[in-house]
Symmetry: C2
Subunit: 289 residues, 2 copies
């Protein structure tokens, strides 16, 4: 997953101004920079078409803002998206990120960055992390730029030959990966830790739960103990950029999950697009003048 | 304490270049900005004279770097300090901050910011925070720019009419404040949570422990339960900018600490300067040309 972590700012828009990403663009002493007071959302744009889940990303951004005490006002991800979408090339697979940093006094800095992204891997290995989530920490539900813990946990996973790290909770059950939710298939049902387990409310995770229900596949939230995780028949991770990826091992905990050869993988991947909302009206494209 | 949280960049030096703080100075897509991958140290410069504890700040910065997987190399706080010290005016009370942000590839961005700071309050009230520290999180010992949790906890303290927030551990004992260590006077000794309690190793905290020992005042690390905290005769917080400040209440937990009228306060304040190292050789000042 490391290739998905660093978007090059091939496209950079700050407060409505399209800028050259290779030039200094931000004041150095913003609270958003000095103290990690920022929130963000990331989604895919494929051949000029954004994810149909922009409203879900916007809702999560607003929840992050509320938890961080940042007042977004009317202006948000959807209201600001037309400019980045119009500026993206009509072809290719782009990872687009909307970041809102706290500025001075009550101002916010709203920033789009985007870069091309390759296809995700077809399976991943996880590292059982020594970093833990506190389910009682309200900020676990916020997607903030204060990501030092996740970056270090992820770097340790890479160092260990894995692609992602899986974080236990301080209570001894399982929360999430550094940039993805965890789901397991066990005893005839898809199961994923609930929102009270110190996790981010993944938009793809929600779509999977809804899509499975529509397809008649049992799917629900439940506390996942280490024991249950070890007994799982299949394990998956999900996020808005990679979709659903199967896991072949959790280093430090359990080997031998089926990974890409799992029987449920094709059923899940078939089920969740059915829960997607209708496509939005087309975005007017920027004309070359 | 809120007046101590936002340094204006009246002085800004990035990678050795003195810059105008009101102009954009940083690339927008640095990992240090997008993902909070940064470390920092803050200290006081009074009438041109920096704290005598620069070596301690440098050691902690290097520990933070190690925990974050950032390679500082030879260049560090002390090697870089001459420029900011030479550029500061010879009078006044300045809060100086050295920040190292992760840049692209293996590069680091080294940044000095400094602004005038007023005298700290003579006592503070704390809020018993709903945010908690995980003593098993190795990053608790790193001073990183991923400070969302501390900023939100601090904002809640201000909202509650307090000046700082005090964070319990997930184990139910006491860790630290959002930008200060906690110390209590109880049963004839100064006591403070140990470094295994999810706290930052405060340089003033260490100085206090050493200074008290030199002065024959019992002082040691120990786990501080909520019960012990409630039984404390006096409570203090400390950091490198405020020194030692007495506490008059912990909202949500206990009222009625003596604050500025505590009997131990003058003894502590008298004891710890004795543990300061000798002053360093004078820094050559920048001549006006």
């Amino acid at each position: 997953m490391s290739q998905h972590r660093f978007e090059s700012a091939e496209l950079l828009i700050i407060d409505g101004q399209q800028l050259d990403g290779s030039q200094p663009a931000l004041l150095a002493n913003l609270p958003g920079i000095l103290r990690g007071e920022g929130i963000f959302e990331t989604f895919l744009v494929i051949n000029g078409e954004p994810t149909r889940l922009l409203a879900q990303h916007e809702a999560r951004l607003r929840h992050s803002a509320e938890l961080m005490g940042m007042e977004l006002g009317e202006q948000g991800l959807m209201a600001d998206a037309h400019q980045v979408l119009a500026a993206l090339p009509p072809e290719g697979r782009w990872r687009v990120r909307y970041t809102v940093l706290r500025g001075h006094e009550r101002r916010l800095v709203r920033m789009w960055t985007a870069g091309p992204v390759s296809m995700p891997p077809d399976q991943v290995s996880l590292l059982w992390s020594r970093y833990r989530q506190d389910p009682r920490d309200p900020l676990c539900a916020a997607k903030t730029t204060s990501r030092a813990k996740y970056q270090v946990a992820h770097a340790e996973a890479i160092e260990a030959g894995c692609q992602e790290a899986l974080l236990p909770t301080v209570d001894g059950d399982v929360s999430e990966c550094t940039a993805a939710n965890l789901l397991i298939w066990h005893d005839g049902a898809l199961r994923t830790p609930g929102l009270d387990r110190g996790i981010l409310a993944g938009v793809t995770r929600a779509l999977l739960l809804e899509g499975c229900q529509k397809a008649g596949i049992p799917a629900f939230e439940q506390k996942i103990s280490q024991k249950l995780l070890c007994e799982a028949e299949e394990v998956f991770i999900s996020n808005a950029v990679i979709g659903v990826i199967p896991v072949d091992k959790i280093k430090g905990l359990q080997d031998g999950y089926p990974g890409r050869s799992g029987a449920m993988l094709p059923r899940l991947r078939a089920a969740y697009p059915a829960a997607l909302p209708d496509p939005p009206p087309p975005i007017p494209r920027q004309e070359n003048s």
